[in-house]
């Protein structure tokens, strides 16, 4: 039913570039990093494969208190004619403005949204809700999920579902939801978490964490009811192209953008 009501909007496939020191890396449960490429090159390659959007996360910024690598953002934005979302280390209104000025179309706020929830409201009012994404890292705790900050290292005792509703009320335009339990396992997205958040809010939800094969993407879009699926390693290591993923999704009856008749 949920999917039927918004069927004219295609489901988005979003490769994620986790970036550290200017290089794309993919963490195994946020630890043990391995270099897999140059952000602008990789982003451009994904665009050519019909990626619907690129997410660029400076995965160490919050932790190390460093500024986002705006120069790399700029070089990446330069190669793209699809939307670019940038997150990691964005702490203030000025950081949001700077990131947008460097060529990002949307910014993703995580730790700072928790410590200063007013930041969400301020940014949404100034720049428009459509460019403010709140990233939520959630980990199962009994019957619910707890929000973590600082690249998944600090528990907050905040309930992920309640937090999702709050960011929505504060004017956030989209939620980037990562299951910390699933992330890095390649065993599939956390369907229950995703569906619970999707059904609790009235803004789009991007599911993240756990993608190891195409079937996982089908699962999270159909059963998790996500509006978009984010994945990294399945694309970075050449396991599948974005186009291959979309061909399977299309066969499964999921609406996707194929760029037919344009090339």
């Amino acid at each position: 039913m949920e999917a039927e009501r918004i069927e004219m909007l295609t489901k988005r496939i979003i490769p994620c570039l986790d970036v550290k020191n200017g290089e794309v890396v993919k963490g195994i449960c946020f630890k043990q990093l391995k270099g897999v490429g140059d952000p602008p090159k990789l982003a451009k390659a994904y665009q050519d494969q019909t990626a619907d959007e690129i997410v660029f996360l400076d995965i160490t910024a919050s932790l190390d208190n460093r500024d986002t690598m705006l120069e790399v953002v700029q070089r990446t934005a330069e190669t793209l004619f699809i939307p670019l979302t940038v997150g990691g280390g964005i702490r203030s209104f000025t950081d949001v403005r700077k990131t947008l000025s460097s060529g990002a179309d949307k910014v993703s706020i995580n730790t700072a949204a928790i410590s200063k929830p007013k930041l969400i409201t301020e940014c949404a009012e100034a720049f428009g809700s459509q460019c403010i994404v709140v990233a939520i890292d959630a980990k199962r705790k009994g019957d619910s999920w707890e929000v973590y900050t600082h690249s998944g290292t600090k528990p907050t005792e905040i309930d992920a579902i309640e937090w999702s509703k709050e960011v929505c009320e504060r004017g956030c335009g989209e939620i980037l939801l990562t299951s910390m339990d699933a992330d890095g396992t390649k065993m599939g997205y956390d369907i229950e978490l995703t569906r619970t958040v999707v059904r609790s809010v009235n803004i789009p939800v991007i599911a993240s964490g756990g993608c190891g094969k195409i079937e996982h993407i089908v699962d999270v879009l159909k059963n998790g009811e996500a509006d978009a699926a984010l994945a990294a390693s399945i694309f970075h290591y050449g396991q599948h192209t974005v186009r291959e993923v979309k061909e399977i999704l299309m066969r499964e009856g999921i609406p996707v953008r194929m760029e037919e008749g344009l090339r």
Binding site: F81, S102, G103, Q130
Partner: protein, 200 residues
């Protein structure tokens, strides 16, 4: 011809500049609104909020409307399209009112509309030359235009309403989608706009 991109003082202007330059157009980003008086092609980009943008444009409203009526090519993208209309549910500030009609908030399960949606159009429209009807463009909007004059060039559907995703009145074009973020299809539309603009 030089496309003058209006800087409301907020948001990302690189994308639209880059998109226009890719088609071979010259561009200039201006934050001094008085410069619009001599512009021969104006682009209102799709960044920011309605109230913020109109507060910046209000002091030179008459000059801008004079330019829009003078027949120069103009492109309004997303918010830049919405400010062409009379008013918006987003803000108390009035729009430019060059196009009659209102901007209303989407009534849908998920707002904003975020992602790639179909645009349905007549294949004879020059602005869509080389692009098949039904092609997806990138949208990121909570509000949508209900124009009462001019011509609707394309329609899209979201939350069970059909709405104008592209309009034209005289030589003023408005796109609810972001051509500069719509990959190959979007670049073709921008190229078509630049070609139409050059021929005027």
């Amino acid at each position: 011809m030089k496309a003058v991109i209006v800087d409301y003082g907020i948001g990302n202007l690189h994308s639209i500049r880059k998109g226009l330059e890719k088609t071979g157009a010259k561009t200039e980003i201006v934050s001094d609104m008085n410069k619009l008086e001599s512009a021969d092609c104006i682009v209102f980009p799709g960044v920011g909020a309605f109230g913020e943008a109109m507060r910046k444009l209000e002091p030179i409203r008459e000059i801008i409307n004079g330019r829009l009526s003078s027949g120069i090519p103009v492109l309004g993208i997303c918010l830049g399209m919405q400010i062409l209309l009379e008013d918006s549910e987003e803000s108390r500030e009035k729009g430019l009112g060059f196009v009659k009609g209102r901007v209303k908030k989407f009534v849908a399960d998920r707002v904003p509309q975020m992602g790639w949606n179909d645009a349905i159009f007549d294949s004879d429209e020059e602005i869509f030359k080389g692009v098949p009807s039904g092609t997806q463009f990138y949208f990121a909007n909570s509000y949508v235009c209900f124009p009462e004059d001019g011509k609707v060039l394309s329609k899209s559907r979201y939350g069970e309403i059909d709405y104008a995703s592209a309009i034209r009145k005289e030589n003023v074009f408005g796109f609810q989608f972001h051509p500069e973020k719509s990959s190959i299809a979007g670049l073709k539309v921008l190229k078509n706009f630049v070609e139409i603009a050059r021929g005027l």
